[in-house]
Amino acid sequence: MITVGIDIGSITTKIALMEGKKLLYTDVSLSGYDMEKAWQAIYKKMLERTGKKESDISFLVSTGYGRNNVSISQKKITEISCHAAGAKYFFPKVKAVIDIGGQDSKFIRIDDTGSILDFVMNDKCAAGTGRFLEVMARALHVEIDDFSTLSGKSKKPVTISSMCTVFAESEVISLIAKGENRENIIAGIHDSIASRMISMMKRTGVASPVVMTGGVSKNIGMRKAIEKKIGMTLNVPEQAQVCGAIGAAILGSG
């Protein structure tokens, strides 16, 4: 049985194609303004690259904020369930999932059967999300992909106390004006996001093993900051950013 999962997030659109339990294909593209165009393009590309026809696909599940825009979707499932299913696919013993995406950060608790026990999400403010990191990268004039390397060079992370993205940006600009080392600022930003995540985790109770999914999981500095605060190692699947789409494809196979 061939199933497809499409995850339309606020920043990126992800797709996964599975045959039974075998992951055959994944891809990531920017969501842009037109979510309909975004999924159509990534879907067409998948068919071309894999040589599959639409008639080969038994079931298609959409997830993410743009899930309702996928007109060919046979089922729409929220990203909480899909990220949990995706994490369990890579780490069957998973008990908790940290997912930091473009506009959301989530902590999901899972029981032995893979059912979701509880979840908490960030408040309305974008602080603690991928968008927050993008804003900070812009303020610091560095590429977001360089955050990981630069934070690794930090000797003394600064403390970012503002919990609001806009205020935190002002705080970062003030630190730059004071001549604070860029590496220390980036490490401080990671620490502030990690602190927010820890507060969220403590609301439902921490359980291990913990899997980290979502685009921000690619940032090793961010991962290390969380690991340091929770005192345990995070399991990060190679396909962490596509975990929601993979979970959608898995849930599509019933």
Binding site: Y65, T78, E79, I80, S81, S115, I116, V120, D123, K124
Partner: protein
Amino acid sequence: MRLFAYYDTGHEFSEEIVMAAGFTPYKILGDVNVPNDPADRYVHNYICPFSRSCLTEGMARSDEWAGIAFCHGCDTTNNQYDIWKHHVKTDFLYWINTPAKNDATARAYHEHELRRFISHMEKHYRVDITDDKLSEAIRTSNSVKRLMQELAKLRPVKDIPNDAYHAITRKCVQMHKDDLIAALEKTLEEWKNRPAFPSDCLPVLLTGSDMTYPEGMDILEAAKLRAVRDDLSLGERYFAETISEEGDPVKALVDYHARIPMPPTKIPFEARLVYLRKCLKETNVKGIVYQILKFCEPHGLDLPYMAGELKKDGHRLIVIEREYTPTIDQQLVSRLESFREII
């Protein structure tokens, strides 16, 4: 009959006193569709947006009102009294200091405050607020509360959209009571004939900040969640109890306010749990939606304890932070749908 406005973000104000004085009580609820200017000139925009909307309404409409009374609905209401004194044109602006505690001393103080308010009303408007008039107003109020109790009982069994219930709770605090009773009787007949509770909707208990406009309920409807119980001021807090029709009517009002479901401004905050647990025992809800209006301090401060206790009781609970906007927030709808999925 002329409107007498009151600014009370909870259910602290004794409407019966202004009814006995010959006015129609009108709860100021702001207007989410009107920008919060000019209020923003006088209140910082980190203060509750609903309270700023109320000030905007006060500045625009005070000439339609015979007077305005304040109650300690929340700290923001309380502390805006002086701002209103300076920026809202009215001949009568009165502040009733309803107590936070609920013991014998606090009740005696509350009685004193109500009698002082009555005395000021009598003097200013040259009316006699007699016990007979108060008792009559209490009977009218009780008729409203009993009708609302009947209507609310239909929520878990009939197809009553969230905004339809919300609309009648608003009418309760803004319409003339005789017209209101007629409207509620008509609604009751209509609701009794509605189809059964829809099978694709999940019944939930709604708690936290009051969303004071019907569009505020749209996110629940979009996520196919139906609030069948609540402890809101525009909701069950207003009608869960009736007022004693025996004895001294002022004492009856004090006693009534000591028995109603408690808001987050009261001490101790465990008092709120009593009513929530009663609702959860009486009605088979599948989860709890705990909404916090952005910058709503009393609920923000209550939340960790309350949510923790309700979760310890074994209930599914989701916390959502609401903006003061009529627009449906798809991010919140998505979170509520996730909540629905895990239920």
